[in-house]
Protein backbone atom coordinates (compact mmCIF):
# COMPACT_ATOMS: atom_id res chain seq x y z
CA UNK A 1 0.00 0.00 0.00
CA UNK A 2 1.50 3.23 -1.14
CA UNK A 3 1.19 6.56 0.64
CA UNK A 4 1.18 8.80 -2.44
CA UNK A 5 -1.55 6.75 -4.03
CA UNK A 6 -3.61 7.03 -0.84
CA UNK A 7 -3.15 10.82 -0.84
CA UNK A 8 -4.32 10.92 -4.47
CA UNK A 9 -7.43 8.89 -3.65
CA UNK A 10 -8.07 11.14 -0.68
CA UNK A 11 -7.77 14.23 -2.92
CA UNK A 12 -10.28 12.79 -5.41
CA UNK A 13 -13.05 13.26 -2.85
CA UNK A 14 -12.70 17.04 -3.14
CA UNK A 15 -14.06 19.16 -6.01
CA UNK A 16 -12.86 22.68 -5.16
CA UNK A 17 -9.55 22.12 -3.41
CA UNK A 18 -6.67 21.83 -5.85
CA UNK A 19 -4.95 18.44 -5.92
CA UNK A 20 -1.60 20.15 -5.29
CA UNK A 21 -2.78 21.10 -1.80
CA UNK A 22 -2.78 17.47 -0.67
CA UNK A 23 0.33 15.98 0.90
CA UNK A 24 0.78 13.34 3.59
CA UNK A 25 1.09 16.18 6.13
CA UNK A 26 -2.13 17.95 5.15
CA UNK A 27 -4.28 18.68 8.22
CA UNK A 28 -7.43 17.79 6.38
CA UNK A 29 -10.04 18.84 8.95
CA UNK A 30 -8.86 22.43 8.46
CA UNK A 31 -9.50 22.51 4.72
CA UNK A 32 -12.36 24.86 3.78
CA UNK A 33 -14.04 22.21 1.69
CA UNK A 34 -13.89 19.51 4.40
CA UNK A 35 -17.38 18.37 5.41
CA UNK A 36 -19.02 15.36 6.94
CA UNK A 37 -20.12 14.27 3.46
CA UNK A 38 -16.49 14.26 2.32
CA UNK A 39 -15.67 12.33 5.50
CA UNK A 40 -18.27 9.76 4.50
CA UNK A 41 -16.80 9.66 0.99
CA UNK A 42 -13.34 9.01 2.42
CA UNK A 43 -14.70 6.07 4.43
CA UNK A 44 -16.42 4.73 1.30
CA UNK A 45 -13.26 5.23 -0.79
CA UNK A 46 -11.16 3.25 1.72
CA UNK A 47 -13.75 0.47 1.67
CA UNK A 48 -13.77 0.37 -2.13
CA UNK A 49 -10.03 0.71 -2.75
CA UNK A 50 -8.60 -1.15 0.21
CA UNK A 51 -11.45 -3.34 1.45
CA UNK A 52 -11.22 -1.87 4.95
CA UNK A 53 -14.19 -0.55 6.93
CA UNK A 54 -13.12 2.57 8.80
CA UNK A 55 -15.25 4.04 11.56
CA UNK A 56 -16.23 7.68 11.77
CA UNK A 57 -13.97 7.90 14.81
CA UNK A 58 -10.94 6.78 12.78
CA UNK A 59 -11.38 9.78 10.51
CA UNK A 60 -12.12 12.13 13.39
CA UNK A 61 -9.04 11.12 15.36
CA UNK A 62 -6.67 11.45 12.40
CA UNK A 63 -4.96 14.82 12.05
CA UNK A 64 -3.07 14.39 8.80
CA UNK A 65 -3.77 12.27 5.75
CA UNK A 66 -0.79 10.13 6.70
CA UNK A 67 -2.37 9.43 10.11
CA UNK A 68 -5.38 7.98 8.35
CA UNK A 69 -3.17 6.11 5.90
CA UNK A 70 -1.38 4.48 8.84
CA UNK A 71 -4.68 3.28 10.28
CA UNK A 72 -5.67 1.77 6.98
CA UNK A 73 -2.25 0.19 6.53
CA UNK A 74 -2.31 -1.31 10.02
CA UNK A 75 -5.52 -3.15 9.16
CA UNK A 76 -4.59 -4.24 5.64
Amino acid sequence: MELNEFVAHFAEQFDETDASVFTPETVFHELDEWSSLIGLSVIAMVDEEYGIALKGDDVKSSVTIEDLFNKVKARA
Binding site: L37, L40, S41, M45, E48, K55, G56, D57
Partner: protein, 247 residues
Protein backbone atom coordinates in the same frame (compact mmCIF):
# COMPACT_ATOMS: atom_id res chain seq x y z
CA UNK B 1 -59.12 -3.02 33.36
CA UNK B 2 -60.19 -0.92 30.37
CA UNK B 3 -57.40 -0.81 27.79
CA UNK B 4 -58.17 -0.65 24.06
CA UNK B 5 -54.44 -1.04 23.38
CA UNK B 6 -54.25 -4.41 25.10
CA UNK B 7 -52.80 -7.30 23.13
CA UNK B 8 -54.24 -9.97 25.40
CA UNK B 9 -55.21 -13.08 23.46
CA UNK B 10 -53.14 -12.08 20.44
CA UNK B 11 -50.10 -13.90 19.07
CA UNK B 12 -47.56 -11.56 17.48
CA UNK B 13 -44.59 -12.48 15.26
CA UNK B 14 -41.73 -9.99 15.50
CA UNK B 15 -38.68 -10.10 13.21
CA UNK B 16 -35.37 -8.55 14.12
CA UNK B 17 -36.24 -9.23 17.75
CA UNK B 18 -32.67 -9.79 18.90
CA UNK B 19 -31.98 -6.09 19.37
CA UNK B 20 -33.17 -2.52 19.09
CA UNK B 21 -36.74 -1.69 18.09
CA UNK B 22 -37.58 -5.38 17.56
CA UNK B 23 -36.49 -6.39 21.04
CA UNK B 24 -38.33 -3.50 22.63
CA UNK B 25 -41.46 -4.26 20.62
CA UNK B 26 -41.39 -7.89 21.78
CA UNK B 27 -40.96 -6.89 25.42
CA UNK B 28 -43.73 -4.27 25.31
CA UNK B 29 -46.08 -6.65 23.44
CA UNK B 30 -45.54 -9.25 26.17
CA UNK B 31 -46.25 -6.64 28.85
CA UNK B 32 -49.55 -5.88 27.13
CA UNK B 33 -50.52 -9.54 27.24
CA UNK B 34 -49.44 -10.83 23.83
CA UNK B 35 -47.92 -14.20 23.21
CA UNK B 36 -44.77 -13.42 21.21
CA UNK B 37 -43.03 -15.38 18.51
CA UNK B 38 -39.63 -13.76 18.16
CA UNK B 39 -37.12 -14.30 15.43
CA UNK B 40 -33.60 -13.12 14.69
CA UNK B 41 -30.27 -14.40 13.43
CA UNK B 42 -28.20 -14.26 16.61
CA UNK B 43 -29.06 -17.06 19.07
CA UNK B 44 -27.45 -15.46 22.09
CA UNK B 45 -29.09 -12.07 21.66
CA UNK B 46 -32.44 -13.62 20.76
CA UNK B 47 -32.28 -15.58 24.02
CA UNK B 48 -31.68 -12.30 25.88
CA UNK B 49 -34.91 -10.95 24.37
CA UNK B 50 -36.68 -14.19 25.28
CA UNK B 51 -35.49 -13.84 28.88
CA UNK B 52 -36.86 -10.28 29.00
CA UNK B 53 -40.39 -11.25 27.93
CA UNK B 54 -43.17 -11.16 30.51
CA UNK B 55 -45.66 -14.03 30.78
CA UNK B 56 -45.77 -17.52 29.35
CA UNK B 57 -46.03 -19.32 26.03
CA UNK B 58 -43.57 -17.28 23.97
CA UNK B 59 -41.59 -18.92 21.18
CA UNK B 60 -38.25 -18.11 19.63
CA UNK B 61 -37.04 -19.19 16.20
CA UNK B 62 -33.57 -18.49 14.88
CA UNK B 63 -33.84 -17.67 11.19
CA UNK B 64 -31.96 -15.78 8.51
CA UNK B 65 -34.69 -14.12 6.48
CA UNK B 66 -32.28 -13.62 3.58
CA UNK B 67 -32.70 -17.35 2.92
CA UNK B 68 -36.07 -18.34 1.46
CA UNK B 69 -35.91 -21.85 2.94
CA UNK B 70 -35.48 -20.35 6.40
CA UNK B 71 -38.51 -18.12 5.87
CA UNK B 72 -40.49 -21.20 4.85
CA UNK B 73 -39.41 -23.27 7.83
CA UNK B 74 -40.06 -20.35 10.19
CA UNK B 75 -43.59 -19.95 8.87
CA UNK B 76 -44.31 -23.68 8.87
CA UNK B 77 -43.23 -24.02 12.47
CA UNK B 78 -45.27 -21.23 14.06
CA UNK B 79 -48.87 -21.15 15.25
CA UNK B 80 -51.45 -18.88 13.60
CA UNK B 81 -50.76 -15.22 14.45
CA UNK B 82 -52.82 -12.07 14.87
CA UNK B 83 -50.00 -9.65 14.22
CA UNK B 84 -46.83 -9.55 12.12
CA UNK B 85 -44.14 -6.98 12.79
CA UNK B 86 -41.81 -6.85 9.79
CA UNK B 87 -39.05 -5.08 11.61
CA UNK B 88 -35.69 -6.72 10.76
CA UNK B 89 -33.44 -4.51 8.69
CA UNK B 90 -29.96 -3.18 8.14
CA UNK B 91 -28.57 0.33 8.16
CA UNK B 92 -26.51 1.76 5.33
CA UNK B 93 -24.69 5.03 4.93
CA UNK B 94 -22.66 5.69 1.79
CA UNK B 95 -22.46 8.53 -0.73
CA UNK B 96 -24.21 7.84 -4.04
CA UNK B 97 -21.04 7.64 -6.10
CA UNK B 98 -19.68 4.72 -4.06
CA UNK B 99 -22.75 2.48 -4.06
CA UNK B 100 -22.08 -0.95 -5.60
CA UNK B 101 -24.44 -3.59 -6.91
CA UNK B 102 -23.63 -5.80 -3.92
CA UNK B 103 -24.51 -2.94 -1.55
CA UNK B 104 -27.87 -2.61 -3.30
CA UNK B 105 -28.51 -6.33 -3.15
CA UNK B 106 -27.61 -6.61 0.53
CA UNK B 107 -29.68 -3.63 1.69
CA UNK B 108 -32.73 -4.38 -0.47
CA UNK B 109 -32.54 -8.06 0.50
CA UNK B 110 -32.77 -7.25 4.19
CA UNK B 111 -35.03 -4.18 4.17
CA UNK B 112 -37.34 -4.88 1.25
CA UNK B 113 -37.27 -8.40 -0.19
CA UNK B 114 -37.17 -10.32 3.12
CA UNK B 115 -40.26 -8.60 4.60
CA UNK B 116 -42.08 -9.00 1.26
CA UNK B 117 -41.29 -12.70 1.11
CA UNK B 118 -42.13 -13.30 4.76
CA UNK B 119 -45.48 -11.55 4.32
CA UNK B 120 -46.15 -13.67 1.26
CA UNK B 121 -45.25 -16.90 3.08
CA UNK B 122 -47.45 -16.03 6.08
CA UNK B 123 -50.40 -15.35 3.81
CA UNK B 124 -49.85 -18.34 1.56
CA UNK B 125 -49.75 -20.68 4.54
CA UNK B 126 -52.77 -18.91 6.01
CA UNK B 127 -51.01 -18.15 9.25
CA UNK B 128 -52.49 -14.68 9.77
CA UNK B 129 -55.90 -14.71 11.42
CA UNK B 130 -58.79 -12.61 10.13
CA UNK B 131 -58.76 -9.09 11.63
CA UNK B 132 -54.99 -9.46 11.78
CA UNK B 133 -52.54 -6.59 11.58
CA UNK B 134 -49.25 -6.27 9.69
CA UNK B 135 -46.81 -3.52 10.62
CA UNK B 136 -43.67 -2.62 8.71
CA UNK B 137 -40.80 -0.74 10.27
CA UNK B 138 -40.03 1.77 7.54
CA UNK B 139 -38.14 4.99 8.29
CA UNK B 140 -38.33 8.74 7.89
CA UNK B 141 -35.66 8.06 5.27
CA UNK B 142 -38.50 6.74 3.08
CA UNK B 143 -39.43 10.41 2.56
CA UNK B 144 -35.86 11.06 1.79
CA UNK B 145 -33.12 13.60 1.79
CA UNK B 146 -30.28 13.08 4.22
CA UNK B 147 -27.00 12.47 2.46
CA UNK B 148 -25.51 9.01 2.53
CA UNK B 149 -28.97 7.45 2.87
CA UNK B 150 -29.99 7.02 -0.77
CA UNK B 151 -30.01 3.22 -0.78
CA UNK B 152 -31.41 2.86 2.72
CA UNK B 153 -34.11 5.42 1.96
CA UNK B 154 -35.02 3.76 -1.33
CA UNK B 155 -35.32 0.36 0.40
CA UNK B 156 -37.56 1.85 3.10
CA UNK B 157 -39.60 3.79 0.55
CA UNK B 158 -40.14 0.58 -1.41
CA UNK B 159 -41.45 -1.19 1.66
CA UNK B 160 -43.82 1.73 2.31
CA UNK B 161 -45.20 1.37 -1.24
CA UNK B 162 -45.57 -2.37 -0.69
CA UNK B 163 -47.45 -1.62 2.54
CA UNK B 164 -49.99 0.42 0.55
CA UNK B 165 -50.59 -2.44 -1.88
CA UNK B 166 -50.89 -4.97 0.95
CA UNK B 167 -53.39 -2.72 2.74
CA UNK B 168 -55.57 -2.55 -0.35
CA UNK B 169 -55.36 -6.20 -1.27
CA UNK B 170 -55.73 -7.62 2.24
CA UNK B 171 -58.62 -5.38 3.25
CA UNK B 172 -60.78 -8.10 1.66
CA UNK B 173 -59.74 -10.34 4.53
CA UNK B 174 -60.12 -7.58 7.14
CA UNK B 175 -56.36 -7.58 7.57
CA UNK B 176 -54.89 -4.15 8.27
CA UNK B 177 -51.45 -3.12 7.06
CA UNK B 178 -49.53 -0.05 8.21
CA UNK B 179 -46.01 1.29 8.67
CA UNK B 180 -44.15 3.18 11.32
CA UNK B 181 -41.46 5.60 10.23
CA UNK B 182 -38.95 6.22 12.99
CA UNK B 183 -36.21 8.82 12.84
CA UNK B 184 -32.93 8.12 14.63
CA UNK B 185 -33.49 5.67 17.48
CA UNK B 186 -31.03 4.61 20.17
CA UNK B 187 -30.27 1.13 18.82
CA UNK B 188 -27.07 -0.74 17.89
CA UNK B 189 -27.84 0.06 14.25
CA UNK B 190 -26.91 3.73 14.62
CA UNK B 191 -23.68 2.90 16.42
CA UNK B 192 -22.49 0.58 13.68
CA UNK B 193 -19.85 2.73 12.13
CA UNK B 194 -19.76 5.87 10.09
CA UNK B 195 -21.10 8.37 12.63
CA UNK B 196 -18.97 9.69 15.49
CA UNK B 197 -20.37 10.64 18.88
CA UNK B 198 -19.86 14.28 17.85
CA UNK B 199 -21.88 13.72 14.66
CA UNK B 200 -24.66 12.18 16.73
CA UNK B 201 -24.74 15.06 19.23
CA UNK B 202 -24.89 17.60 16.41
CA UNK B 203 -27.60 15.64 14.64
CA UNK B 204 -29.63 15.24 17.82
CA UNK B 205 -29.55 18.98 18.46
CA UNK B 206 -31.47 19.67 15.26
CA UNK B 207 -34.47 17.60 16.39
CA UNK B 208 -37.27 19.75 17.83
CA UNK B 209 -37.38 17.36 20.82
CA UNK B 210 -33.54 17.56 21.05
CA UNK B 211 -32.83 13.85 21.30
CA UNK B 212 -33.16 10.53 19.51
CA UNK B 213 -35.99 8.09 20.19
CA UNK B 214 -35.81 5.39 22.81
CA UNK B 215 -36.69 2.02 21.22
CA UNK B 216 -39.87 1.69 23.30
CA UNK B 217 -41.14 4.98 21.87
CA UNK B 218 -41.20 3.29 18.46
CA UNK B 219 -42.54 0.06 19.96
CA UNK B 220 -45.60 1.89 21.34
CA UNK B 221 -46.43 3.16 17.84
CA UNK B 222 -46.14 -0.37 16.47
CA UNK B 223 -48.34 -1.65 19.30
CA UNK B 224 -51.03 0.91 18.54
CA UNK B 225 -51.19 -0.41 14.98
CA UNK B 226 -51.28 -4.03 16.20
CA UNK B 227 -54.03 -3.37 18.72
CA UNK B 228 -57.78 -3.19 18.27
CA UNK B 229 -57.49 0.54 19.00
CA UNK B 230 -56.34 0.86 15.37
CA UNK B 231 -59.14 -1.31 13.96
CA UNK B 232 -60.14 1.33 11.40
CA UNK B 233 -56.56 2.28 10.49
CA UNK B 234 -55.03 0.73 7.39
CA UNK B 235 -52.59 1.90 4.73
CA UNK B 236 -51.20 4.53 7.05
CA UNK B 237 -47.68 5.79 7.66
CA UNK B 238 -47.20 6.72 11.30
CA UNK B 239 -44.24 9.08 11.55
CA UNK B 240 -42.50 8.96 14.92
CA UNK B 241 -39.64 11.38 14.64
CA UNK B 242 -39.37 13.82 17.53
CA UNK B 243 -40.64 16.55 15.22
CA UNK B 244 -37.87 16.13 12.64
CA UNK B 245 -40.23 16.37 9.67
CA UNK B 246 -41.47 19.75 10.88
CA UNK B 247 -38.17 21.24 9.79
Amino acid sequence: MYNPFSLRGKTILITGASSGIGRSTAVECSRLGARCVITGRNAERLQQTMDALVGEGHLQVIADLAITEEIDSLVSGIPAIDGLVNNAGVGFNKPISFVSQSDLERVFQANTFAPMLLTKAILRKKKLNKQGSIVFTSSVSAFGSNYGRSVYGASKSAIMAYMHYCARELAEKQIRVNAVHPAMTETPLIYSGTLTEEDRQKDMAQYPLKRYAKPEEIAYAIIYLLSDAASWTTGTSLIVDGGLSLL
